[in-house]
């Protein structure tokens, strides 16, 4: 096989349609529920997180709709859309569902599960049965989380700050236990991936011949393994506080409510990087593939992933500049926070430089990658306002924070995730999606996202605190504009879902390598056979090497 450097999507006739693949080799629901095939487990995760994203997304639309007018009424209705109590529950569940049920498992557990072993040239992950167990734990956690909505709901915010979370009513204990259980799912996935990367690389694939997606997922897995247990014990302490009044977070019993925040953010800040590193990992694949040019600064990108993973453990205090931690601590955390900005900046510039003198085509995945570059840049640059102490004091706990982390989490990770989903869709399903509608959806998502969240930087700077049901009349125009934006954003996402799902009605039509990718997942058929490859693939060239075969190889 030669190097595929031709118009994407036009090589369908390249290989005969696969007779057997992982989707049709076995059939029936039972064959899915008992599968240990990483590809099928990836698909099952995809279904799980899609449901979670739909649920969390509808709640976000509801929150925005409630904030459309100061009296929370629309079209002359006499009752508000949500009462204050209901509003508090809905934004809490939006956060909790999006973080624990959607973003954290999105790229690693769904796409990572599918792609990682293929990229390594492996037949499966190191522990296939543990992989299935992780999925079941995820489902149990998800059921517990949804049950907590029905059994009284929770109104603590997804951060569960004490002492509010230990004194309020509702199903807080059940929700914290749900997050605890979901944490184990995340830990087991992380352990599985680390062992897989260490031991199951194809012959010829050293550490620096691994695709950068693998580096990103590997860094993520390190954080998952090392940070999640701390969240686990923190949530157990919170639950025990509610059940036994053990007092560790209760000032009246000699405890310290701020200690909870330290524990919580010791996990949850690294968790921010559990969410963004996989997004960056996807972009590192899309940029070279659609520029048909090797990635610029492979090692810089790989090392910056590891650097981010390590530094992420020592910056948690930047969530607490106004919480009552010592001023010296705040100064140190501010400094470390600025250090972590550097590797993220390096990555952005490397991706932009990858396009230079490339052969750039703008299919939907690349449009998402470019959207990511712009949105993530805004997310990162607004982080400078929040890392600096004096400006953070004004901006923290306002809509500025809300906008900032949505730019990183949604403009970054979710956009990259959707881009990656389009990119690997032909591999996963054997079908090409409709390019036109995918581009329309991408444009709407981009526009709607900026309408919704760019507005919120202004709201926050002007002093609009977050998690507010009522707001001053002066903020109404911006709130209304943000709500209109959420409709555009929602429309874009629905079209995306429709466009992808519609492709499933077609017969298999995807070529093995529709984009001309150089990593190993494109070297097997679409969709792959159950054992991924016929025989053991051996890596002969580095990833992203677009030079003609026969040219001198190596950096």
């Amino acid at each position: 096989m030669g190097h595929v450097v031709s118009a994407p999507g036009k090589t369908a006739a390249e290989s005969p349609r696969p007779q057997k693949n992982y989707l049709n080799e076995q059939s029936g629901l039972w064959s899915w529920l008992t599968t240990v095939d990483h590809k099928r487990i990836g698909i099952m995760y995809l279904i799980g997180i899609a449901i979670a994203f739909l649920l969390g997304g509808l709640m976000a639309l509801l929150v925005r709709l409630t904030l459309l007018t100061p009296d929370h009424k629309i079209f002359g209705s006499s009752t508000p859309i949500l009462s204050a109590e209901a509003y508090n529950q809905v934004f809490t569940l939006h956060g909790a569902i999006m973080v624990f049920l959607f973003i954290i498992p999105s790229v690693p557990a769904a796409l990572g599960n599918f792609v990682l072993p293929l990229m390594l040239g492996a037949k499966d992950v190191a522990f296939p049965r543990l992989n299935l167990v992780s999925w079941y734990i995820y489902v149990i956690g998800a059921i517990m989380a949804v049950a907590s909505i029905l059994l009284g709901g929770i109104d603590t915010g997804w951060t569960f700050y004490t002492p509010y979370s230990t004194t309020t009513g509702g199903a807080v204990t059940l929700m914290t236990m749900a997050a605890f259980v979901l944490g184990f799912s995340s830990i087991f996935t992380g352990i599985n991936f680390i062992a897989t990367v260490h031991k199951l690389r194809a012959p010829g694939m050293g550490w620096f011949q691994m695709p950068l997606f693998v580096w990103g997922i590997y860094s993520t897995a390190i954080i998952q393994v090392l940070a999640t247990p701390v969240l686990g014990i923190t949530l157990v302490l919170l639950a025990l506080e509610r059940v036994f009044n053990v007092g560790i977070f209760d000032a009246r019993l000699g405890g310290d409510p701020v200690l909870f925040q330290h524990f919580f953010w010791f996990y949850s800040h690294p968790a921010v990087y559990i969410m963004i590193l996989p997004g960056m990992a996807i972009i590192s694949e899309l940029m070279p593939t659609f520029s048909r040019k090797t990635i610029f600064g492979y090692r810089a990108i790989a090392f910056s992933s590891i650097a981010i993973a390590l530094i992420s453990f020592i910056v948690w205090g930047h969530h607490m500049f106004v919480s009552g931690q010592s001023q010296m601590a705040s100064v140190i955390f501010s400094f470390l926070t600025f250090l972590v900005a550097i590797p993220s900046g390096i990555k952005v510039l490397n991706w932009v430089a990858t396009m230079y003198k490339g052969n750039v085509s703008l299919e939907a995945p690349m449009l998402y990658a470019i959207s990511f570059l712009l949105l993530f840049s805004i997310g990162g640059l607004t982080g400078l306002f929040l890392g600096a102490l004096s400006t953070d004091v004004h901006l923290t706990d306002t809509y500025f924070i809300v906008a900032h982390f949505h730019y990183v989490m949604m403009g970054g990770t979710v956009i990259a995730f959707i881009g990656g989903l389009h990119y690997w869709w032909p591999k996963m399903t054997g079908r090409m999606y409709n390019e036109f509608w995918a581009k329309v959806a991408c444009a709407l998502t981009f526009i709607g996202f900026n309408m919704t969240f760019l507005t919120q930087f202004f709201l926050g700077s002007q002093g609009m605190p977050r998690r507010y049901y009522n707001y001053l009349d002066q903020f109404q125009p911006l709130h209304a504009f943000s709500t209109f934006g959420s409709w555009v954003l929602g429309l874009g996402l629905f079209i995306t879902a429709g466009c992808l799902l519609a492709s499933l009605r077609k017969p298999y039509d995807a070529p093995d390598n529709p984009w001309g990718g150089t990593t190993l997942e494109w070297a097997t058929q679409s969709p792959p056979i159950t054992h991924n490859f016929e025989g053991q693939p051996v890596l002969e060239r580095e990833p992203y090497d677009y030079r003609p075969v026969g040219a001198k190889v190596g950096h």
């Binding site: 508090n88 900046g345 932009v352 600096a388 004096s390 004091v393 306002t398």
Partner: protein
Amino acid sequence: MEWIRSLMLPLQGSEFAKEVDSLYMFIFWLSVVLFIGITIATLYFAWAFRFKPGRRTEHIAHNATLELAWTIIPLFIVIGIFFWGVNGYTKYAVAPGDAFQVQVVGKKWLWQFEYPDGSRYVNEIHLPVGKPVQFIMTSEDVLHDFFIPTMRVKHDVVPGRYTSVWFTPAVAGNHHVACAEYCGKGHSDMAAKIVVESQAAYELWVKEGPADLNRPPVEVGRDQYEAKGCNTCHSIDGTRGQGPSWKGIWGQKHKMKDGSEILVDENYVRESILNPQAHILEGYEAIMPAFQGLLREKELAGLIAYIKSLQ
């Protein structure tokens, strides 16, 4: 450029606000420049090197000089921003010794203020312009956060410990206080108003008191009975405390330690509050503090009316 600042940031109510804003605007313009740079580069590359079938691309794997440059230059920039932020933060970390101290208690869902003279206000206070003020805060229930956007100050209010913010109000007018740490159903309604005004207007307000003194005197008196701590020694149901109960004493003749008898009327009650040592009731110790200068006329009249009502 001022209009761009005012588009994003609220009124600058203090010197500190100006300091915060200058860093904010620096980061803002830096971000604008960097963002436009990245956007232009991205879009230009996508256009200039757009797809042409069969075109070979160059193998540019890395460039040490370029990569070092875009690692080191941003590093210096962010360290600069770090020091700028620390400078503003630490300069305003410790309140000046002569700052006017106001105790704040946050509770679901109101702000309670107490002035050094012991007078208490809920959700509205007045401050003189140009005089440093420090708020010393604690919470009675869950976390709250004392946030004054126009002053650019914010700090969590934590049960079981004291935190503080301070500033020097520089602009007269109404300044909004918001709760910025989620505290439940009434979180978004937990607002207070700080009226910053001239020294003269402020002094008049101190004398006249807040608007809620313009209620029927009995109601004012009932609130003052608790607000000024009368209830710790004087019961209103006839039980004996450190001091005599107020129930049914109006119009009675009291026997004093020195043997004299005095009628409980307006003049006697007034004297007993402002200068309690003048006459001591038989069987009680002379332990009550004098309230001379701690009560406004309306508050005093309210207490007298309240005692009168306790028949």
